[in-house]
Symmetry: C2
Subunit: 294 residues, 2 copies
């Protein structure tokens, strides 16, 4: 039989692009000797600059031994064959020998230590240590315990069940039910060891015509959340379909009463409708002036 | 009066180091047009390679207008004067004009888009868009809602109060009280939209001599946590000082019974004593084979 001879040519990347292979799919590997969380964030940020359909992502954490790096290389090389294009590899492996092995993979490797450490070391005037990093390890156990304590604090205050400790809170999020207080408090606790309490505003509070006593005593640390009545309605419908609680008029009334309360007591507030937990957390810390513990 | 004339000489960085200024403190700025979370992670990872005492860090998020960037530049220039050394600046600002302004600061600037985008664009064969990234914004609202749902799921299952829904869980963390289940479940939910349920093992379960029914029906998704009795004792002492619950013998018995249960039912488990929530989460997802939704 007479097959046409096919030979795979490994073109340099720039040539690939010039030759119109721009839309071939490429696999994007994220390799780390620890969790890989840092690199995942970085890659996600960088990839916001490209269209979504670009690259399948594979995260390979805990690559802390030669055998594990070899297995990763086999996976990378297999993807190169399948995609007919060398994968893009982001690596935060610290060990020199493991990094050298990785360079044998059929891939375009971005090693973040290679990229940054030489010039960073020059900029701060200190040599780098070469130790495996633990940016998502326990780090300082005291700080770590503060994070876990803060999570427990947020859980204990959830739904305002323990008013008496509000004085201990770094900040107090107020808002109507399902306006985003709980996830935001938990995120602040988990990531920044901020003790955030959660105070739900109810019709009783609105009828009172003034700030509830528990809040008045802690005015300097209050932050309000608001939300569009439509979105609140949809969220509450999932929880209690067809209820008064979830009805659009009820949501409209509560949101409007909460915003009136914020305005009349000069409580800073944000609309959580189209803002992520992360964005809320960072902006709230900045505006309340909370010290980050992590 | 006759003061000696002092003149500040702006040495290039390499010269500074050679001249023994290696231990002068430098301020490290993290600048972003959004939350800055990605850069904070990256800088934390990079700085694990230097000693701890190196640099005070200042995070300036939401720099999305010329006036805000100008204010940041004033802060950077002031730090340069105070430290008598140009600050190190990490920036993930996307807008070209704002980036150009930033370059007028008296600083060593690491712009992660400048660093990565040209070669990444070549590697994947696509142009970059130049749009402000939203890697910590809401992104896909459906995915975002999954994260919030997963947080609520974790909260509802906290302390095993709602057994009937275990079947809906992506994974079920089991362990004695205060072994780290709750923060880990919440982290999995918040970061990866994984629906993680929390099942506390009690003496009742240990006396049963077999897996509780609710767990037996969901064996494929069980993952155990264990902890050193000493650390458990210290954690419980903070919660209920002097109680039987917190006593060292009680902690020893419970931990040993839990580990026996894991081994006899081939439930994979990890020791949370010196492992962070992030590390637990990543390793558990990998070992249970949970699909990440984010």
């Amino acid at each position: 039989m007479n097959h046409p001879v096919s030979r795979r040519v490994d073109l340099p990347l720039d040539d690939c692009c010039e030759q119109g292979m721009a839309n071939s799919s490429r696999t994007l590997f994220i390799l780390s000797d620890r969790t890989g969380i840092t690199l995942e964030h970085l890659v996600r940020t960088l990839m916001t600059q490209f269209d979504d359909t670009c690259c399948e992502r594979v995260v390979l954490p805990f690559l802390d031994a030669a055998s594990k790096v070899e297995a990763a290389i086999r996976e990378i090389d297999a993807a190169a064959v399948e995609d007919d294009a060398p994968p893009v590899v982001f690596s935060s492996i610290v060990d020199e020998e493991l990094r050298a092995r990785l360079m044998t993979a059929n891939a375009q490797v971005f090693d973040i230590f290679d990229v940054f450490l030489p010039s960073l070391s020059a900029a701060i005037g200190r040599p780098s240590s070469g130790h495996v990093g633990l940016s998502h390890g326990m780090g300082d156990p005291r700080v770590y315990d503060q994070r876990v304590d803060a999570v427990n604090f947020a859980l204990n205050f959830d739904d305002g069940s323990r008013l008496r400790g509000l004085a201990e809170a770094d900040l107090i999020l107020v808002g109507v039910s399902r306006s985003g207080k709980t996830p935001t408090c938990l995120y602040l606790a988990m990531q920044y060891a901020v003790r955030a309490a959660n105070f739900p505003l109810t019709e009783e509070d609105f009828m009172l015509g003034r700030l509830p006593d528990a809040l008045r005593e802690n005015r300097d640390r209050l932050f309000g959340l608001t939300i569009s009545p439509d979105r609140l309605h949809r969220i509450r419908e999932e929880r209690r379909p067809g209820s008064d609680y979830a009805s659009l008029p009820q949501c409209r009334n509560e949101v409007s009463a909460a915003e009136d309360l914020y305005r009349s007591h000069a409580i800073p507030f944000l609309d959580s409708t189209s803002v992520s937990i992360e964005e809320l957390a960072i902006e709230i810390m900045q505006r309340v002036g909370v010290e980050r513990h992590y």
